[in-house]
């Protein structure tokens, strides 16, 4: 579904991503971990071209999205993204946040979009917040709404950029629960996170990125119980 070939990204002379090759198949849940500054967020943001790679190729559902001729807006409609800082639109109500893109992009009419939004809100137990504004919500609620906003587009893959890092500890659980549910329903997911328990439970594969390279990748059990690369061993010993 997503394939990167020798993906590179440099800010000036500073190489953040130094040749990443990876194939992500439909239904996979790939968790990306690594020390801060390792390039893991940049990697994720390259996948939907929020960061434009300086080298290599990214293929999504048979399209080379690094090709200038590809309509990236069309591609992004199929790639939901959830941010660390939620990035809800503060001037729009929860309902408008969710329905804006599907309606403006002509995927649904207003009525269909609102119905879909209500279904999604019901699922996360926030139906009564439909007319609230983002500033009236808690962090956990904001992030769950942000996830729902992405889901309203019926994406084929969801990208999560440290979705729980800006949350108060007691709100992390509700967001991770929702993400776990999504995973169980078969959503293809790429998640950058520091939540190791979540990684262990949900991931089908874990990548360890350091200094812009994939240092190690493995299934969770092997990854945590039998790390091979010394840098991963060191990293795990620090956080576990």
């Amino acid at each position: 579904m997503i394939e990167t070939r020798n993906l590179q990204k440099a800010f000036g002379s500073h190489k953040v991503l130094d040749g990443i090759d990876i194939t992500i198949k439909k239904g996979e849940k790939v968790v990306v971990i690594g020390p801060s500054g390792s390039g893991k967020s940049t990697f994720l943001r390259c996948l939907n071209l929020l960061e434009v790679p300086t080298g290599g190729e990214i293929w999504f559902e048979g399209n080379n999205i690094t090709d200038k001729k590809t309509d990236i807006n069309k591609m992004r409609q199929k790639m939901g993204m959830v941010f660390q800082q939620f990035n809800l639109f503060p001037h729009l109500s929860v309902m408008e946040n969710i329905t804006l893109a599907p309606v403006k992009l002509g995927m649904m009419n207003q009525q269909e979009a609102e119905q879909k939004a209500l279904e999604l809100l019901k699922r996360i137990g926030l139906t009564e917040k439909a007319d609230a504004y983002p500033n009236q919500l808690s962090g956990g609620q904001k992030q769950r709404i942000a996830i729902v906003r992405a889901l309203a587009m019926n994406p084929d893959v969801m990208l999560f950029d440290e979705p729980t890092s800006a949350l108060d500890p007691e709100m992390v659980g509700e967001v991770l629960d929702l993400m776990t549910q999504l995973a169980e329903e078969g959503m293809t997911m790429v998640v950058v996170t520091h939540e190791m328990r979540f990684a262990k439970k949900v991931a089908t594969r874990i990548l360890f990125i350091d200094e812009g390279k994939i240092v190690e990748e493995n299934v969770p059990d092997e990854f945590f119980d039998n790390p091979k690369h010394p840098r991963l061993k060191e990293f795990l010993s620090k956080i576990l």
């Binding site: 807006n73 992004r76 990035n87 504004y133 500033n135 906003r149």
Partner: protein, 229 residues
């Protein structure tokens, strides 16, 4: 006291002189409204083009915007007015009110552009990213996500600019437009007493500006929903 009363009576009532003020007010309001509309249009356009071109390969477009802003802000309004008037007036049968409005609009546009640019830059980068990640294109995100928030933040500064604009139209007299100030001067030259008509004109400006201020505060309150975190 009696003398003062008579002076204002002369300046306002005799020969139905209040009609001259009303005519002047009409011209001033007309020029101001047209100029505000044009200023907003130019300002939004220049600001958006400036901000988006600055981060791309087409930096020269942003250069053009900056030349416009520099020239307009760096030269006196009255000189601009005279230059544009003489530039266009050579083609005869032009409408001075339209010329005035265009000139004030072009002038205001430069200031509005800078205000709006500051507004756009005050919005968190994550808002643009969130809009784009949903598949909206740059223009759509700008229009539906960034600008509404930016305008809300800059409304006080924008209101200030419009107040200045209304008052600055008082120099429109130099291109043979009979606006409120010019009307007051005409009346003063008739009655041989310039002060009363000028004070009346000043009062009229004050009322107009206060009306605009009121309008803006209503607008501000309406846009404030969903505000503050």
């Amino acid at each position: 006291m009696e003398k003062l009363k008579e002076a204002f009576y002369n300046a306002l009532i005799v020969d139905q002189r209040y009609m001259a003020y009303l005519g002047g007010i009409k011209v001033t309001v007309l020029i101001s409204l047209l100029a505000i509309a044009l200023g907003i249009a130019i300002g939004v356009l220049v600001a958006v083009v400036n901000v988006s071109a600055a981060n791309s390969k087409m930096k020269w477009i942003s250069g053009i915007c900056n030349v416009y802003i520099t020239i307009i802000r760096g030269t006196p309004l009255m000189v601009q007015l005279l230059i544009i008037y003489n530039l266009i007036f050579t083609s005869r049968n032009t409408n001075e009110i339209v010329v005035g409005a265009v000139c004030f609009g072009i002038n205001s546009g430069a200031y509005v552009a800078e205000i709006i640019r500051a507004g756009i830059e005050s919005i968190d980068k994550g808002q643009m990213e969130a809009g784009r990640s949903l598949g909206l294109n740059y223009i759509q995100t700008m229009r539906m996500i960034i600008l509404p928030q930016a305008i809300r933040n800059i409304l006080p500064a924008l209101g200030n600019e419009f107040i200045v604009l209304i008052k600055e139209t008082s120099v429109a007299g130099v291109i043979a437009v009979t606006d409120l100030t010019k009307a007051a001067q005409y009346i003063g030259s008739r009655t041989w007493d310039i002060l009363p008509p000028l004070i009346i004109a000043a009062a009229c400006y004050l009322v107009m500006v206060m009306g605009l201020t009121k309008l803006l505060s209503v607008f501000e309150r309406r846009m404030a929903r969903g505000d503050r975190n």
